[in-house]
């Protein structure tokens, strides 16, 4: 301890004047080294995926392996669309995502506005119920939901993946938006009210325009969640022309190829295709993304 103190506050000797900067530089380069090695390790699987996605069926399992494809085969990315129903699955995924994202954002805004801005008896208690549903895993309700959708003929349609999102939009988003709405000065609401604006009008004309960052965060998270969702489609979708992309990819993984031809290259191409939109979205909305994570994680 004492030695460390002398070092950290050491401005006493000539010796320290040389040693300390040198130590600092060493420490600094060590940090860069660790960070770079880690980043490379985290990226290596992606590199290998893309590299494999561009190889031919036999080069992909060739021995010794080639780091970079000898012959770049863009054809793989065409094949998954032509020889497999990836186009259908993509359309399904897009339909689900667009409708679910709109539903979640719109309905969570309305509900969050109610919780943030309007006084009514039982508000705090109900909000606690909202929060507690955040801790409720989907696994607990999946069986009765499956039976419910079966009763009303929604199984093997995209409806179960869309409609529930229009009712409340999920506890997480209600919470996030409520927190944000509460930071908007109430005077603005009141001014609009004097002008004869109804509550929905206030939400739409005053609150929404001021909440673009929070709403963008909700849109991004909602897209990610719905794009990646696997558990519910697995239960609710049956025939392969109804599949969303994750389910289709799983189907493709387990389906044997003709003559047992290796299909790792196609699987890797498909995995790339399903991941790219998410990564693009992240780059476009990085700022909102990080803000959203921090907001929900720290204040939660």
């Amino acid at each position: 301890m004492a030695g460390e103190l002398a070092e950290t506050s050491g401005r006493f000797s000539q010796f320290d004047r040389i040693v300390i900067p040198a130590r600092k530089a060493m420490r600094q380069s060590l940090i860069y080294l660790i960070a770079t090695v880690l980043a490379a390790a985290f990226m290596a699987p992606f590199f290998w995926t893309i590299s494999s996605a561009l190889k031919g069926p036999w080069e992909v399992i060739a021995y010794p392996p080639t780091l970079v494809p000898k012959e770049v085969r863009w054809q793989n990315f065409v094949d998954i669309w032509v020889r497999w129903p990836f186009a259908t699955w993509t359309v399904n995924s897009i339909v689900v995502c667009v409708l679910a994202v709109i539903g979640q954002t719109a309905s969570a805004s309305v509900v969050a506005y109610g919780f943030a801005r309007i006084r009514f008896p039982g508000r705090e208690a109900l909000f606690l119920v909202v929060l507690s549903t955040m801790m409720l895993p989907i696994q607990v309700t999946i069986i009765p939901l499956f039976l419910l959708y079966r009763q009303i003929g929604w199984l093997d349609t995209l409806l179960p993946l869309i409609v529930p999102h229009w009712f409340g939009g999920g506890a997480f988003f209600i919470f996030l938006l409520r927190q944000f709405f509460r930071t908007i000065p109430k005077d603005l609401d009141e001014a609009a009210e004097i002008d004869g604006c109804g509550k929905l009008g206030i939400l739409w004309q005053v609150v929404v325009p001021l909440s673009k960052p929070a709403l963008t965060t909700v849109v991004i998270f909602s897209f990610l969640f719905n794009w990646n969702e696997f558990f519910q489609p697995l239960f609710f979708l049956n025939s392969n022309d109804k599949y969303t992309l994750p389910l289709g990819l799983r189907f493709f993984q387990t389906f044997p190829t003709q003559g047992g031809e290796p299909k790792w290259h196609l699987l890797m191409a498909a995995s790339t295709v399903i991941t790219v939109p998410v990564v693009l979205l992240f780059f476009l909305g990085q700022r909102y993304f990080i803000q959203g994570v921090v907001m929900t994680g720290l204040k939660g």
Partner: protein, 315 residues
């Protein structure tokens, strides 16, 4: 002043003789009504229905038959896969959660250093957590493929014969742990820790330095206590998450080899979708829910001993 005039005007304008507070309350209920409907139809209703279903024998084809607690009894005493799957899930959780939290925290500390290109490193660490879980499962089963996977090729190039990874019963769970760490360490948890680190008051760190604390002592005695609320948050969520581990195992190993990765959720899903034992699956779901609630409760209770809330002591 302005508010007063509104207060006066409302009852006059209103055609119905409702007090302003009543109108306000009605508007409030109207606004949250989508959530109420959703909660009743898609959450509360199904949960209650699940209780009844869990006490029935129900194979979809024939109407449910009430059998009392038989399904629960079967789970605890007669199902040869129940306890093993629960233990496997516990094993997975005990590896994933502590390693995940420690890993994210260390990475956040690394990024919190004074280095250039922080945003780039952060992005690179973050990207794996965006990968859809099916893609993650497929790409890792390719990387860990025993004969031609990248991992074993690299090992082979330095003269080591690599193991079977996911196809080795002893290694399968640790591999899945590794995969899920790859997909979560640099993700939102790290971002939350990073924000938490930036929120550690400078004066506390300086005070510790004056008291002669080195970097490590400062980290243990100042940084960690300040982060304990965030750690608790991540602990609770982490346990919830990894106890429900499903997709990654379903895609990468399908519960194999020889049931080595047959986690609790895999058991549940197979009961429901393969054997159509809806009653039994619902019972498994309720047991799962009870366990998760118990864990959360215990963690929160236990947290009183180690979580430090700076607000409480009134700065």
């Amino acid at each position: 002043m302005a508010t007063q005039t509104i207060g006066w005007r409302w009852p006059v304008v209103s055609r119905f003789r409702l007090r302003r507070s009543t109108r306000e309350a009605l508007a409030g209920y109207a606004f949250i009504s989508p959530w109420i409907v959703g909660f009743v139809c898609f959450t509360m209703g199904p949960m209650l229905a699940a209780i009844y279903i869990s006490m029935s024998r129900y194979d979809i084809a024939t109407p449910p038959m009430f059998i009392g607690l038989e399904n629960y009894q079967r789970a605890f005493t007669a199902d040869p896969l129940f306890w093993p799957s629960l233990l496997r899930t516990a094993y997975y959780t005990m590896l994933t959660v502590p390693l995940g939290i420690a890993g994210s925290l260390l990475m956040a500390v690394l990024l919190n250093q004074n280095i250039r290109g922080k945003a780039i490193y952060r992005t690179l660490f973050f990207l794996p957590s965006l990968t859809p879980v099916v893609a993650m499962g497929i790409l890792w089963s390719w990387l860990l493929q025993p004969e031609v996977g990248l991992a074993n090729l690299l090992l082979w190039s330095v003269g080591i014969k690599g193991p079977g990874w996911l196809s080795d019963p002893d290694l399968a769970i640790p591999c899945l742990v590794g995969i899920s760490l790859w997909g979560s360490i640099g993700g939102s948890r790290m971002i939350i820790f990073l924000a938490g680190l930036q929120g550690v008051p400078q004066e506390l760190e300086e005070a510790a330095e004056l008291d002669g604390a080195g970097a490590w002592a400062k980290f243990l005695n100042v940084t960690i206590p300040m982060l304990t609320p965030v750690i608790l948050f991540n602990l609770v969520l982490g346990v919830l998450d990894s106890f429900g581990v499903f997709a990654i195992a379903y895609v990468a190993t399908d519960g194999g080899p020889a049931y080595a990765t047959w986690f609790y959720m895999l058991h549940l899903v197979n009961q429901a979708l393969r054997y159509f034992e809806m009653g039994y699956a619902a019972a498994l779901a309720w047991i799962f829910f009870a366990l998760v609630l118990l864990f959360t409760y215990l963690q929160v209770r236990w947290s009183a001993r180690w979580v430090y809330y700076s607000g409480e002591e009134g700065r």
